[in-house]
Structure formats: structure tokens, C-alpha cells
């Protein structure tokens, strides 16, 4: 997993609520057998029309908005458990997603793929959207060690992250590394429980 520590970037706004994983990556694009290449189909049906032409007006097709930070409406990532949603975001180039609420499985999947989900309040989210609207080039910075999201003109938001997950992100560790070192405990547990 790629490490994350500090990041500064402009942001892409997507002020829609309840964005589900079928929008992030529609099921018909889940046929890959590697983790690469999903970025092409990120938000596919919002980005392209039936004849694969870019849909004007969708934010990813608007060159004004660019960056490694996606700012999305409440309840981002609901729906399926497909990790392809996190891979698609990562493959497209996002490292941070900001929203006022995340679906559970998506949040876990993001963290397992080096993408940081930052939960802010509804009011803070509104403020961030307004900032981007006023000036699409606004640069936001993420300081993971200190758990702060800020810009140069007054926004400074302390965010929560589970201590364990923070360590993993900072060091690029996966849960699997930890678990693989626990085989003895696991076998002992099986014997005790008679599995």
C-alpha cells in the first residue's frame, strides 16, 4: 500500500448525496482480474453518454476542477462491497475523499488502499464546496500526523482517524501483514474452540 503523510492539492467537488458504489464504478466494468485500469471507468455513466462521448457539465470533464482530493455529498460510497470503487478512485488519482458521512464498507476499503476518507460536519462540507465554487484553484492541505485538513484562507478542520488505521497509512502497512504474523495465535484459538 502506498504511504500517505502530507498532501496539498486543489479539489474536485461532487455535491451529490448518497453516491453509491454502482455510480463510482458500474458493475459491468468489474470484470477485470487485476487492480489496475479502473480509473477509466470511474463515474462512467455520469462521465460519458451512451456513445462514449464526454458529458459536458460533469465535474470530471471540466478542466477547471482538478486534484487529488474529491469532495462529495453526504453518505458517500453506500451500496456494494466492491473494492473496485476504491481502486477506481485511486487509479484515477484521488488520495483523499472528503464527505460529511461515509458508508462503512467503503471507508474500510478506501483505508485498505491508501485512500484517506475524511469526515467533516455538514456545515464544514458546505463551506468547502463554497470555497471551491468561488475559486476552483483553492489548495487544500492534509496533514495526516496532526489530523488536520486546511487551506491558506482560514479553513482548518481537525478530523478523526482510528489510531491503528493511521499507523497503517503512514507506514504503508496492510492488515494482512499483521495477520500473517499471528498464525500461531490463530491455530491456538482453533484448538481451544475446537473448530
Amino acid at each position: 500500500m502506498e504511504k500517505l503523510n502530507q498532501l496539498s492539492s486543489s479539489a474536485v467537488p461532487l455535491p451529490i448525496e448518497d453516491i453509491d458504489t454502482d455510480q463510482i464504478i458500474p458493475a459491468r466494468f468489474l470484470k477485470g482480474i487485476s487492480k489496475e485500469g479502473f480509473g477509466e471507468n470511474l463515474f462512467r455513466d455520469w462521465r460519458y453518454d451512451k456513445s462514449d462521448k464526454e458529458i459536458e457539465g460533469f465535474v470530471l470533464n471540466n478542466k477547471i476542477y482538478q486534484g487529488q482530493i474529491l469532495v462529495a455529498g453526504r453518505n458517500f460510497g453506500c451500496g456494494s462491497s466492491r473494492e473496485h470503487a476504491a481502486w477506481a478512485l485511486g487509479d484515477y488519482g484521488f488520495r483523499v475523499v472528503v464527505s460529511s458521512f461515509f458508508a462503512d464498507i467503503f471507508k474500510g476499503n478506501a483505508l485498505n488502499n491508501g485512500i484517506l476518507p475524511i469526515t467533516v460536519s455538514d456545515a464544514q462540507l458546505d463551506r468547502i464546496f463554497r470555497k471551491i465554487e468561488e475559486n476552483p484553484e483553492t489548495v487544500f492541505s492534509v496533514d495526516l500526523p496532526n489530523q488536520v485538513l486546511f487551506d491558506s484562507a482560514g479553513i482548518s478542520i481537525q478530523f478523526e482517524i482510528d489510531a491503528y488505521k493511521k499507523e497503517c497509512l503512514l507506514n504503508g502497512y496492510d492488515d494482512i501483514d499483521y495477520l500473517l504474523n499471528m498464525k500461531e495465535d490463530i491455530t491456538a484459538f482453533e484448538q481451544k474452540q475446537n473448530v
Binding site: P15, I16, E17, D18, D20, D22, Q23, P26, A27, R28, L30, K31, G32, I33, S34, K35, D45, K50, G73, R74, N75, C78, G79, S80, S81, R82, E83, H84, A86, F101, A103, D104, I105, G108, N109, N112, N113, D162, A163, Y164, K165, D174, D175, I176, Y178, L179, L180, M182, K183, D185, I186, F189, E190, Q193, V195
Partner: protein, 460 residues
């Protein structure tokens, strides 16, 4: 200390507590399928590790398989590649596969219970969010991402934070024509798609305990649609009777011993939940959804509500529906009866019972897709296939089918489909497809009329 059912199962599976309030949880059974497993196997190959507990791992091909001519090679190259990759991985890693054409093949959440792999007190996972289905047996079952599939394949464990506990009690008797699908659509419409995020739900109350196992599975299946990690129901006589004699369930005295253990799996009378909600079954009527998430549901007699938000407006525009409009009388072009929510033998029987002697409207296409090979076979043994044929319903072969539109079973853009599946997201059943979620009975009635009707009118 008094414990909830959830706590009892969870606590019995803690291998170790680690930093940050996380725990290493042992997983009893793991289901895998073609879509969310290839990258996990690839990861294991890269690390040079094998499957830790093969006998606790079960594989099937369901998400992207064709539901016609399953004896022929899969036409679509990418789908074929994915299914072939599963076959190769299962062979290489020594995992038993119920592949296409196998007598045990089917949608993971249909075959687990049907084979008796799903049992009370277990922890079960699958790279699919509707793994919550298995909770109907009093198991902790939930969907995981592919990184976690890799973790469970290689260690039979996951690092998790214990969710909060929520009990939803539904008391009272259901009206005729109202089914468990309506209960869950009703709950989601009241609680919202994010309403239970962070919680694991226990369903209780007389309206729940009076349900069959199939009907309970429909409820637990859709727990995820309100954001819950999963949902479970305490096992009882209905559960034991369902499991008796199934392939993976011990027989004879060993079965009685199991039942004796399972009897301890109930929430203690004085156990405390983080949150409790109560509903009355009398208030529930046949439900339909009008929008693009499962929380956008109304009783069949109600009009579509009005909301200011852009997301709401976008959703109605996608569905080409208006606030105030009623869905009763809405002309539809497709009916899909299937998916892990409603494709079990009981669902098929119920539909057959209703349509026997009736003929579908000439203007609709009706697809009925059994959840498993066993369901398909049983439907044929019982002569349900003849009833469907006479009614003009096309009985297909098992798979996820039009639930997620990964194979060729898609709803054309702009057309309406009344569907017994679990998600009405934009494009879920195909780009531009408009999905109306409902119960099998409501779907069957719409098939006959060519438009959405209140099934109770047929039944009274």
C-alpha cells in the same frame, strides 16, 4: 453480564484484542465468487502464500454468468476470463468450486443456507455486501472488500472494530398480500440508506419470528441497504427445522447436540442495546420504490413525496417521475423476479401460486431467475416451470442476472422494471434502466396487468 445475541457470537470469535479498540476476529466460513476474488488470489501468489483453511472456504460462480445455455462456453470474453480465472485459482489453491453447471452452483447467499453451511452462532463473510442474508440463522455475516478476502483466505481472520448494536422490533400481524420484502422496504424507507451505519441489527418481534426462514433471509439480506453492517435473527424451531437434514449439518444425535448449543443463542432478557427501535406490522402495506436508492420507498397507495434537495430532484428526473404522482397504474415494460433477496423456492412457489391460470400482459417481458441449481431443479420437480411457461414467464438458469446487469440480462435504457432485487441505483440493471423495487407478489401482479397494481386487490 447480560449479553445480546450479537455479543455472544462476536465474543466467542475474538482471537486477540489489539491497539485502537480493534480485535482479530475468527471467521468460520468464507464464500468467494468470480468478481471479488481474482485480485485476492493474485495478492497471495505475489506473497507466495496458500489458503489457510480450505474446508472452510466455498466458491461459486454467480455474478456474471449467463442465465441461458449455461452448458455452452460463456460468450462474453471478459466474463469468461473472470470465471476461468476462478476455476484456475480454485484448482491451484485447492478450494472446492461449485462452478457453472455444478449441482450446487447458485448465488452465494442462496446456496450457503440451502446446503446448511450457514448455521447459528457462526461468523461468515463474502466479498459481497448482501452476505448479511446469512444472519437470518443467527449468524454474524457481513460483506467485505477484496483486501479482506485476501486476509481471510490466508489467515481465516479479520481485524475489526466491534459495531454498535441496534434492535429493531416489529410486532403484530402482517396484512394479506404484505410480505417480508415489504417489511424491510418499509424499514429502509423510515430509517434511510445511511440510518443504521455503524450498527449491527438484531430483528425481533412477533412479525419477525412468525416468518419462514426464506422470508427472514429477505429481511437480513437488505440490512446493508440502511447502512447496517449486517442483521441477524435469533435461531428458533423454524431455524432448526430448516437446517435438519441439510448436507453440511450433522445428523442424528450430533444434530440434537447442535440444537442444544444453538438454544443458548438468544439475547439475554436484560441485555442492553446501543439503540432500540419499534415498529408495528399493521402499518405496513405493499411497498414500491420510486427513486434511485432503496430508502426512497412508499406504500402502494401513497404519492411520491416532495423534497427540495438536488439529489432528490436528480433522482426523480432519472426515474422520470414527479412528486405527488402515485405508482399504482404506472406502466412497466419488464419484470425481474430473482436475486439473493427473492429467488428461493418459497418465492418461486408464491409467484407460481399467484399466476397459475393467469397470463402475463403482452406488453411486458418477465424474467424469473432461480437463485440456485437446486431451486431450479426443485421448481421443475414441483411443476412450477409449467405454470410459468403457461403464464408467459421466462424461467432462466441460476445467477445474479438482472440484479446488477453484469451479464447480458439488462433492462434497456429508459424502460421501467419492477424488480424483486435489492438495489434501484442509477444504472444498476443496465445503463439508463429504471428500477422499481417490490415483493415477488407485487412483481407477479404487475406482470399480469402490465402496470403496477396493489396486489391486495387480487387477493381479497
Amino acid at each position: 453480564m447480560a449479553k445480546t445475541l450479537f455479543d455472544k457470537i462476536w465474543d466467542a470469535h475474538v482471537v486477540k484484542e489489539i491497539a485502537g479498540g480493534r480485535e482479530v476476529i475468527y471467521i468460520d466460513n468464507h464464500f468467494i465468487h468470480e468478481v471479488t476474488s481474482p485480485q485476492a488470489f493474485a495478492g497471495m501468489k505475489a506473497r507466495g502464500i496458500g489458503v489457510f483453511r480450505k474446508s472452510q472456504t466455498h466458491a461459486t460462480a454467480d455474478h456474471n454468468v449467463p442465465t441461458k445455455d449455461q452448458h455452452l462456453p460463456i460468450q462474453e470474453a471478459l466474463s469468461r476470463k473472470q470465471v476461468d480465472t476462478l476455476i484456475e485459482n480454485c484448482k491451484e489453491f485447492g478450494v472446492e468450486l461449485y462452478g457453472l453447471g455444478h449441482e450446487k452452483q447458485g448465488i452465494v447467499h442462496v446456496i450457503g443456507p440451502e446446503l446448511g453451511i450457514t448455521q447459528p452462532g457462526k461468523t461468515m463473510v463474502c466479498g459481497d455486501s448482501h452476505t448479511s442474508t446469512h444472519g437470518a440463522f443467527g449468524a454474524i455475516a457481513f460483506g467485505i472488500g477484496t483486501s479482506q478476502v485476501e486476509q481471510v483466505l490466508s489467515t481465516q481472520c479479520l481485524i475489526l472494530k466491534k459495531p454498535k448494536r441496534l434492535r429493531i422490533t416489529v410486532d403484530g400481524e402482517l396484512q394479506t398480500g404484505v410480505s417480508s420484502k415489504d417489511i424491510i422496504l418499509y424499514l429502509i424507507s423510515k430509517l434511510g440508506v445511511g440510518g443504521c451505519t455503524g450498527y449491527f441489527v438484531e430483528y425481533a418481534g412477533t412479525a419477525i419470528t412468525s416468518l419462514s426462514m426464506e422470508a427472514r433471509m429477505t429481511i437480513c439480506n437488505m440490512s446493508i441497504e440502511m447502512g447496517a453492517r449486517g442483521g441477524l435473527i435469533a435461531p428458533d424451531e423454524t431455524t432448526y427445522e430448516y437446517l435438519r437434514g441439510r448436507e453440511f449439518v450433522p445428523a442424528g444425535p450430533a444434530f440434537d447436540e447442535k440444537v442444544a448449543q444453538w438454544k443458548s443463542l438468544a439475547t439475554d432478557a436484560d441485555a442492553v442495546f446501543d439503540k432500540e427501535l419499534e415498529f408495528s406490522a399493521h402499518n405496513i402495506s405493499p411497498m414500491v420504490t420510486y427513486g434511485t436508492n432503496p430508502g426512497m420507498g412508499i406504500g402502494i397507495a401513497e404519492g411520491i413525496p416532495d423534497q427540495e434537495s438536488d439529489s432528490f430532484k436528480k433522482s426523480l428526473a432519472y426515474m422520470d417521475l414527479r412528486s405527488g404522482e402515485k405508482l399504482e397504474g404506472k406502466v412497466i415494460q419488464h419484470v425481474f423476479i430473482g436475486s439473493c433477496t427473492n429467488s428461493r423456492i418459497e418465492d418461486l412457489r408464491q409467484v407460481a401460486d399467484f399466476v397459475e391460470g393467469k397470463i402475463k400482459s403482452p406488453d411486458v417481458q418477465v424474467m424469473i431467475v432461480p437463485g440456485s441449481k437446486k431451486v431450479e431443479q426443485q421448481a421443475k420437480e414441483e411443476g412450477l416451470d409449467k405454470i410459468f411457461e403457461a403464464a408467459g414467464f421466462e424461467l432462466r438458469q441460476p445467477g445474479c442476472s438482472a440484479c446488477l446487469g453484469m451479464n447480458e440480462d439488462k433492462i434497456p435504457s429508459g424502460e421501467y422494471c419492477i424488480s424483486t432485487s435489492n438495489r434501484n441505483f442509477e444504472g444498476r440493471q443496465g445503463p439508463g434502466a429504471r428500477t422499481i423495487l417490490a415483493s415477488p407478489l407485487m412483481a407477479a401482479a404487475a406482470a399480469i396487468e402490465g402496470k403496477i397494481v396493489d396486489v391486495r386487490k387480487f387477493l381479497n
